[in-house]
Amino acid sequence: MNRFWAWLALAGGMIYFVLPLLGMTEFSLKMRRGVYSFDAYARVLADPKFQETFTYSVVMALVTILFGVLLVVPTAYWVRLKLPRLRPYIEFITLLPLVIPAIVIVFGYIRLYNTSSWLPLTGSVFGTNALLMFGYSTLSLPYMYRAVDTGLRTIDVSTLTEAAQSLGAGWITILSRIILPNVLVAVLSGAFVTLAIVLGEFTMAALLNRPAFGPYMQLLGANRAYEPAALAVIAFAITWGCMALIQIVSRFAPKAPVNPH
């Protein structure tokens, strides 16, 4: 009886989750009257705007990932090594972006870093891009930090550090040659989540007026019928790709030490 309800729940869930995916796929193929075709996809992929915004977002994502790694790995490492009592506080801070809505954060950016402020980031294209990148880093902070911190848990940070120090390694060498390779898998899974977040992000890019993929999708959605569905399919495929990469990468992860009891 229990099993029956479990299967029923699963079946209901499947229907709920499959139908929208089916709906968008079917819709995306209906552009040509009467037959299924890939016209909508061809139209989207040929759109120079699509290529531009997609490239922009991918580049932004890569820069965000780079910045995130440089910020998070040393911090998480240092906290584990030297300031373990700070860990709960840091963890709390890294979770804040999940609680404070992104729209509020970006509103603060606009007000704090406008052209007449002490740090007029929004005054130049480069500055605005940098601001957006910091915004993306904030949004991905919870995922990046958790991933890296979990990765650090599986290695003995202090022993590795002492061993490296006894061999004469400096901090930069320790971080880049010892710690980073050991948490690479964790860093990569954080990176793919970041990629998925940045590619789909709408609010920050729209309010900072940057030509990113999210606002482009929204714009297309407001003006076209079939192309948005094709875009949704593409976006879903990208998200799935990111998650699949995490899965593949984590197969190579070192397993956490098993407790004897």
Binding site: W7, G23, S28, L71, V99, P101, F134, T138, E201, Q247
Partner: protein, 294 residues
């Protein structure tokens, strides 16, 4: 180590700032791009254009349209968080605690990872293509079965429409967060309860649920904030036709739709207050329920 000679405390003193220096980049980053912007909004909510202290902005929120925007937002967030918790919990429980075969677990978690990240604009498109006026399900029900969703009062651009859409990322998020917590329930607890004479229901009521309660609450608060701040899905789904807080704020930031720029700060401040209250309730309940935790 425990006996502190003067020299030892001296080295600690001189080493301390150096240790703290290691987290300085992080501190600088969160200050500049998390704390200051948020504080700025909070302060701005209590300032008039001349920079003087005022409560007028907060009072300005007290208009029927803004109040109703908050109210709908809170209702949608609460509904999608509660339903997401309930459904996500049932699915996760079915998979981790038996009932369903083990091989389902891994694909389910992978799919949850994808679906919880598949939010924003494309999600709205997917639901429009399914439940929108000419969506797959709508058309199928109308032409094949003769049920007109619209005449039954269902509209994607409504409370239930948005809730149903948000559930697409809420349920998977719940599954992702609660599965490890369910894994943490030891088999021995269930067995100990059972051999002491407890029924399955008694085990859940007296042991499993109290142990899971903090995680459940935390996830509920997170899901609430997650849908309360969701802008992209709402805008892509409804344009600006639905009067909810994130859309209102978005429009206000884009161009001054409220006729008073400082009302925007008050609006954003209100959002912080709402998610803040949700999390305070969570922390308070957690502290009450977690006396048994280290």
């Amino acid at each position: 180590m425990t006996t502190q000679t003067p020299t030892a405390s001296k080295t600690i003193m001189s080493r301390l700032p150096l240790n703290w220096l290691g987290v300085a980049p992080f501190a600088l980053f969160v200050t500049l791009f998390l704390f200051l912007p948020t504080m700025n909004i909070v302060i701005g909510a209590f300032q008039n254009p001349a920079g003087e202290f005022t409560l007028a902005n907060i009072q300005g929120l007290n208009t029927p349209s803004i109040i109703s925007a908050y109210w709908i937002s809170i209702k949608i967030s609460l509904a999608s968080a509660l339903l997401g918790c309930l459904v996500g919990f049932s699915v996760a429980a079915a998979v981790t605690l038996g009932g369903l075969p083990k091989w389902i677990r891994s694909p389910l978690l992978t799919f949850s990872g994808v679906a919880s990240n598949f939010a924003g604009v494309p999600l709205a498109f997917a639901f429009l293509a399914t439940l929108g006026p000419i969506g797959l399900v709508t058309v199928f029900l109308r032409t094949q079965i003769g049920i007109d969703l619209r005449s039954l009062g269902f509209n994607l651009l409504s409370f239930w429409g948005l809730t149903v859409t948000y559930l697409f990322f809420q349920i998977p998020l719940m599954i992702l967060i609660i599965t490890p917590a369910l894994d943490g329930l030891k088999r021995e607890w269930r067995e100990a309860a059972s051999i002491l004479g407890a029924s399955g229901f008694q085990y859940w009521r007296l042991v499993a649920f109290p142990i899971l309660f903090p995680s459940l609450l935390g996830t509920l608060a997170l899901l609430f904030a997650n849908s309360f701040g969701a802008v992209a899905t709402a805008i892509a789904l409804t344009g600006s036709s639905l009067n909810i807080v994130p859309i209102l704020l978005f429009a206000q930031i884009r161009g001054d739709v409220l006729g008073d720029p400082h009302l925007g700060y008050a609006l954003a401040f209100g959002m912080i207050v709402v998610t803040g209250i949700a999390n305070t309730i969570y922390i308070w309940l957690r502290a009450r329920s977690e006396r048994w935790l280290k």
